[in-house]
């Protein structure tokens, strides 16, 4: 072939010479020559295809590289395995963490007279878990926002000046979504009890408040560190119960069972049940709380009165596999869209589960475990027409001179249920407040929807107290989850505690915001440490 190629060319050359003698023949040859050229060009078009293919490869490389850097790589590279972070930390003054108003300081680094730096937390215990610590490891927002806090986007003139004077640059500050007034209210409402309160703005996913007790004072963490880490008795004070504490959801889970019942039974409005205080099936008996007979109930009444027997009956009528599938879609046994440390909730009902587990699970006992934040996210999704917004803690990054470097906007995470389903749940949950177990929240100032719960966690009859809900019903401003751990005092149940928080947030009644700090285990610790 190659020989041919060359021969061909030679032929053409000689032909060109011949053209002069014989125009007729020449035109024929010219056509042939053109055809040959075309053939050649055709190979060029294959080569062009190769060129385009490789251009595509190279551009996709460049595109991916750029795309990757515009993603939240700040969180990605913020890893203990990335030693570069340590260098950055040593070269920058750690930035501040601010409340949602953008001015109230929740954490800041001050340089002392002797040149050493000290991280101070003006609100001490009030924000302990959500702000977290940066001492022998990091947690909470201190961990989440670490890369921003140690990056300086100060204006170049300041940076050059700092450099010339041998000073460190000031790291950027993080404006959080945390509402200082609300956090105060939650903190004091929780009082001396162990447990958690989480508040989310349903339409945006902003985490407005997050309190977990027992707590600690991050200012003096170094004093108690060794005790906390080494002695089992104290190790739970570092645990953020709001996101890491797993509790049986008790009757708050009835909202899930109800949703599933509505999904599997088109005629759910026709449901009625006559409660005589207990329900027996295949040798298994479940009791309503205090053995109370609720009488004739519609589906709405069953939720409002929190009737275990009715829900056990509903549970038995459900397709368990479908129930499990739907619960997984409602973020059980799965990752939560959360930026700080958390534990996933678990739901273990399956086709082979026995009658007892099925009945127990339907009203929130059984093997189900939930975190308060997960339960709060559910309330927020119901309040937001079934759409769960991604919960977030960082609103914006500002530099040392206060200019905004980066803004975080709210984003939809997932539609958990249809608008219709959400509105049925809202209607029924409103009944809980107006005529059911949640009347403690009945007020003329605002409307509310919710579900109470008490969860037995052992066989002694003691229980945790739950409340999830949102208000106002017409235009939800806040979704709340309160969990009071077993042994709580000062309240009849969690709904009373929620009342205080919602009153403060929605009516501006700040009677309860006296910030008497939590004493107990933590006081004991600091006392021991200072002695």
């Amino acid at each position: 072939m190659s020989e041919l190629d060359e021969n061909e060319l030679k032929i053409y050359d000689s032909l060109e010479a011949a053209t002069i003698d014989n125009p007729n023949r020449a035109s024929k040859q010219a056509k042939k020559k053109e055809a040959a050229k075309k053939a050649k060009q055709k190979m060029n078009s294959e080569m062009m295809a190769v060129v385009y293919f490789f251009m595509l490869l190279f551009f996709s490389l460049a595109g991916y590289l750029v795309y990757y850097n515009t993603q939240d790589k700040e969180i990605l590279v913020n890893n203990t395995y990335n030693k570069r972070i340590e260098v950055m930390e040593s070269e920058t003054i750690r930035g501040s963490i601010l409340a949602s108003d953008g001015t109230t300081v929740l954490a800041e680094t001050v340089t002392l007279a002797d040149g050493t730096e000290d991280r101070t937390y003006p609100y001490a215990n009030m924000f302990s878990h959500v702000i977290g610590f940066t001492y022998k490891g990091k947690s909470g927002i201190e961990k989440l926002a670490n890369f921003y806090l140690i990056s300086s986007n100060d204006n170049p003139i300041n940076q050059v000046q700092n450099d010339l004077n041998g000073l460190k640059n000031q790291g950027d500050s993080v404006v959080t979504t945390l509402d200082i007034g609300l956090q105060k209210a939650c903190y004091s409402a929780l009082g001396n009890n162990q447990g958690s309160i989480v508040c989310i703005e349903p339409s945006t996913g902003k985490i407005l408040a997050m309190v977990s007790k027992p707590d600690y004072d991050p200012n003096t963490l170094e004093l108690i560190w060794d005790t906390v880490v080494n002695e089992e008795e104290f190790d739970s004070i570092l645990v953020n119960r709001s996101t890491q504490g797993l509790y049986p959801p008790g009757s708050t889970f009835k909202v899930f069972t109800l949703l599933e019942y509505i999904r599997q039974h088109k005629d759910y409005e026709d449901f009625t049940y006559d409660c005589n205080g207990s329900k027996s099936f295949e040798g298994v008996t479940v009791n309503c709380i205090y053995g109370k007979a609720h009488g004739h109930l519609t589906l709405k009444d069953a939720l409002a009165q929190s009737c275990n027997s009715a829900f056990a009956t509903m549970g038995l009528s459900l397709d368990k596999e479908l129930f499990a599938k739907h619960c997984n879609e409602l973020l059980f046994n799965s990752e939560l869209p959360l930026e700080i440390e958390y534990n996933p909730s678990s739901f273990t009902l399956k086709l082979s589960s026995d009658t007892e587990e099925t009945m127990q699970t339907a009203f929130g006992q059984g093997e189900t475990l939930m975190t308060p934040i997960h339960n709060c996210m559910m309330a927020a999704a119901i309040a937001n027409d079934g759409v769960l917004m991604k919960p977030y803690l960082m609103q914006a990054i500002v530099n040392a001179s206060g200019s905004t470097i980066k803004k975080f906007s709210s984003e939809k995470y997932k539609t958990l249920m249809t608008k219709e389903e959400a509105s049925v749940l809202t209607e029924y949950m409103t009944a809980v407040i107006t005529e059911g177990t949640g009347t403690a929240l009945k007020t003329n100032d605002y409307t509310a929807a919710g579900k109470t719960g008490s969860a037995e966690h052992d066989n002694t009859g003691s229980h945790h107290s739950w409340f999830i809900g949102f208000a106002p019903v017409e235009d939800p401003q806040i979704a709340i989850c309160v969990l009071l751990e077993d042994g709580y005092t000062g309240y009849h149940s969690a709904v009373d505690c929620a009342r205080i928080v919602l009153d403060t947030y929605l009516t501006g009644d700040s009677d309860y915001t006296s910030s008497d700090s939590y004493s107990g285990i933590y006081e004991e610790l600091t006392h021991a440490a200072t002695e």
Partner: protein, 434 residues
């Protein structure tokens, strides 16, 4: 004060490189030889300025005088090379030459920054290779019979690959190299050039079905040996080179489809057969779960690029040495860390420009053999870049191939230099045939 200097330098480097790149793409469109070579000389000056500033910064940051000596040596020898090249070859693709030198200089800077000793070694090796390959373009011109010996290429390729497989020492879990007189040779790098010659010569004879089948069979033997040697990157490159060449030679897209199918089947079975292939895929999908094991390398690479940001941390300010084997497999990440992502995109565009030049030589060449040869070589060059950069930024699974002319290593550099020299030879032949 040094910090200000470094801060400013980040932007200067990006700006200089941007100017260089713009000139590359401008020169690409210029036909007039005189204008072309004039602009190419300007480009050389930018390269030397870049090199000067980088080594200046390295010296200031490290206070190590070795950098000054190394700088002087590199600058002078590079300058001499350019002078000699211009004297010997009045007619050559000077833009291709410049791109080659620019990449070599960037490689010198980064390797010397990461490991000074390796930088010196690499300097010696690369210059040796550059001066030796000066002869190749002449050789190509004088030996027009190169197209007539496909069997020789085939035999050399298969025998040498087998040799490496059988006696080669296990290096990083792959039988890639062989030691001769104390020097480690990674034959698959060189053989890929012979391999391109082989396929070009085969298809030059005939693209009839029988010959295509025969060629496919022999090409498959190459690929298979590489797979057995656990040289995944090499096997992939050989495979793609073959696919592209058979497509261009036969003008039948069907072959690509068939080949693609075969490729999918082969990758699936490799995935199921070999644990090391599966590991590569896992660590690509989710390196974070394997961060203190197999995923360590790639996560460190991601940290490097991510921490660097758009303009990088500044030369000598990052920690590229945190990535294991950075000077071989992750040079691109190291460059991104210290020079920034914008610069990294620039590197990709520079290599694309080089690839386009190679294809352009092919399109203008006379005769099927030379055209196919340049397509094959350009593909080998381009696809290797895709694999190494794509692997380093977690776009595709890691395959462990080098970044041509920038990564540390003699075999990689020499084979690429040889490849460039062959293209220069092709360039001269097409312009002489005019």
């Amino acid at each position: 004060m040094i910090k200000v200097l470094i801060d400013v330098s980040r932007y200067v480097f990006v700006a200089l490189f941007a100017i260089y790149l713009l000139m590359s793409y401008r020169i690409f469109t210029i036909q007039d030889e005189e204008d072309r070579s004039y602009r190419c000389v300007l480009q050389n000056m930018i390269m030397f300025l870049f090199h000067f500033l980088a080594f200046g910064l390295l010296f200031i940051s490290s206070q190590d005088f070795t950098y000054i000596w190394l700088y002087l040596a590199q600058m002078i020898i590079m300058f001499l090379y350019l002078v000699i090249f211009h004297l010997v070859y009045k007619n050559a693709d000077f833009l291709l030459l410049n791109n080659m030198c620019m990449m070599i200089m960037i490689g010198f800077i980064m390797i010397s920054r990461i490991n000074l000793e390796e930088g010196i070694r690499q300097t010696v090796l690369v210059f040796l290779g550059m001066y030796l390959t000066l002869i190749v373009p002449v050789f190509m011109q004088k030996n027009k019979k190169l197209r007539n010996i496909p069997w020789l290429y085939g035999v050399i390729g298969i025998v040498l690959l087998l040799l490496v497989l059988l006696v080669g020492q296990a290096q990083n879990g792959a039988n890639l190299s062989i030691k001769i007189f104390g020097i480690t040779f990674q034959f698959s790098e060189f053989i890929k050039i012979v391999y391109a010659f082989f396929i070009a010569a085969m298809f030059n004879r005939s693209t009839k079905f029988g010959n295509v089948v025969l060629t496919t069979g022999l090409a498959a033997v190459h690929v298979l040996i590489l797979v057995i040697s656990k040289d995944l990157g090499g096997a992939l490159i050989y495979f793609v080179v073959y696919l592209v060449m058979v497509y261009v030679a036969t003008k039948k897209a069907g072959y690509i489809f068939l080949g693609g199918m075969a490729g999918v089947v082969a990758s699936m079975s490799a995935y199921h057969l070999f644990a090391h292939v599966r590991t590569r895929v896992y660590t690509w999908q989710d390196p974070w779960s394997y961060i203190d094991g197999e995923g360590y390398q790639i996560t460190q690479s991601i940290f490097a690029i991510g921490t660097g940001g758009w303009f990088g941390e500044g030369l000598y300010q990052g920690m590229p040495y945190r990535i294991p084997m950075v000077e071989m497999d992750f040079m691109f990440s190291a460059i991104c860390e210290e020079f920034g992502i914008i610069f990294g995109v620039g590197i990709i565009l520079l290599m694309l420009n080089t690839f386009l030049l190679m294809m352009d030589v092919g399109m203008k060449s006379q005769g099927k053999f030379y055209r196919l040869l340049s397509v094959g070589l350009a593909t080998a060059y381009g696809f290797q870049i895709f694999l190494t950069i794509g692997g380093g930024i977690k776009f595709i699974p890691l395959t462990g191939v080098t970044l041509p002319l920038i990564s540390y290593g003699g075999s990689s550099a020499w084979s690429t230099l040889l490849l460039f020299a062959v293209i220069q030879g092709l360039y001269r032949m097409k312009s002489q045939d005019k």
